[in-house]
């Protein structure tokens, strides 16, 4: 279905131009990161999926998941090029990434969602703070604000 519209599903980084990917990250508002560091991150990511647009040969959607490949996975860097949003590409990438993780036997699939995209993840089956669990992030600033 995707292919008929000119979108190719990819599961490895072999044909991925990191700089093109970086442009998509920047286009959706991520800070521009060192491409070499991005490469290290991708090389150490066990599941990733991206969609290449046939005509331009460029990545238009991407998602990856890190974890232990047995129990837990966390999804990062879910992006769709703004010019290609609204077509179901984000959903396509996420659904297939989840399938891949489930096939590996990973049952615990988590992610951190900005407030404005909670509505994107909910229909995919994600629940925020289930059972009162809170996502927490380390901050050197909060280190000094002890209780």
């Amino acid at each position: 279905e995707l292919e008929s519209r000119g979108f190719i599903l990819r599961r490895t980084i072999s044909d991925l131009d990191i700089n093109h990917l970086n442009s998509v990250f920047v286009a959706v508002g991520f800070p521009r990161r060192d491409p070499d560091k991005i490469r290290v991150a991708l090389e150490n990511t066990s599941s990733l999926l991206w969609i290449e647009y046939e005509k331009t040969r460029r990545p238009v959607a991407f998602a990856r998941a890190t974890g232990d490949d047995v129990f837990n996975a966390i999804v990062w860097d879910v992006v769709v090029d703004p010019s290609y949003q609204g077509m179901g590409l984000g959903k396509a990438v996420m659904e297939r990434l989840i399938d891949e993780l489930l096939e590996k036997g990973v049952c615990n699939i988590a992610l951190y969602s900005e407030p404005r995209v909670l509505g994107f993840y909910r229909p995919l089956g994600f629940v925020a703070d289930p059972g009162g669990i809170r996502g927490m992030v380390y901050s050197r600033k909060s280190k000094n604000k002890k209780l």
């Binding site: 047995v70 925020a128 992030v137 380390y138």
Partner: protein
């Protein structure tokens, strides 16, 4: 009393089909230190390394230790800005105490990832976590970026070289080796809880990750341990960002 749990799943086994472990070929040439020794049936081996510390601080501790036989807390210094510049040793003594019967007990922190999977299973049982297949435990450890442990080492007086080494705590982190790390499975043996060991464990894991230049350190905390982690510098829902789980079993 349950171990400090940060796992997303609470109780209940994974209902997903167990798949065979094809090798997950992560190219790990960028690993800055090894975190996957043989987890199969190997016994833990003692590898206390002599490491560099801030000489003045540890000298002051040691001079106190030699004077008497009471409990000597050799806890790593509190977090000072300077502390983060000094590379953290892979293994070091957190606490050393001498019991009334003369037995010396050391609590040792290690980030070397040397975990006997049977011992880990025992520890998970003690904190009340549901059983997970040993092979999966072993694979999870192998695929973790950092595995940190607390061991208790008991030496009887006069029994040269005869010591008892027990796993009493563990924490691990997965990571992409560049940007993000997530801490999972923080646990401390219930009979050793209440002494600040959990805090020390997490604090050292965070420090090790920061020293590897991992900028984003995250975790998922059950509601009853949110304050525990806040105290260690973790912030819930920063900027309104929410942790979400796919079809959680709640």
């Amino acid at each position: 009393m349950l171990g400090i749990s940060t796992r997303g799943l609470k109780g209940g086994e994974c209902l997903c089909p167990i798949v065979s472990f094809g090798c997950q070929c992560q190219s790990s040439n960028q690993l800055l230190f090894s975190s996957n020794p043989n987890y199969g049936l190997s016994k833990t081996s003692r590898k206390l390394k002599v490491s560099r510390f801030k000489a003045r601080f540890w000298e002051s501790i040691r001079s106190g230790f030699l004077k008497n036989n009471s409990t000597q807390v050799m806890e790593a210094p509190p977090d000072l800005e300077e502390e983060e510049e000094e590379p953290m040793p892979e293994e070091f003594v957190l606490i050393e105490k001498t019991q009334p019967d003369g037995v010396i007990e050391q609590i040792i922190f290690s980030s070397g990832g040397d975990v006997n999977v049977y011992e880990l299973q025992t520890l998970c049982d003690k904190v009340g976590w549901p059983r997970r297949p040993l092979s999966k435990l072993a694979a999870a450890l192998k695929n973790s970026y950092l595995v940190a442990t607390l061991h208790s080492i008991r030496k009887s007086p006069g029994s040269e070289g005869n010591e008892q080494r027990t796993l009493i705590g563990m924490a691990r982190a997965t990571s992409d080796h560049a940007f993000n790390a997530t801490i999972w499975d923080v646990l401390v043996d219930p009979s050793y809880q209440g002494q600040g060991l959990g805090k020390a464990l997490v604090e050292k894991v965070v420090r090790a990750l920061l020293q590897k230049d991992i900028g984003n350190i995250s975790l998922f905390a059950d509601s009853q341990v949110v304050d525990f982690y806040r105290n260690l510098g973790f912030e819930p829902d920063p900027e309104g960002i929410k942790g979400m789980f796919w079809h959680p079993k709640y």
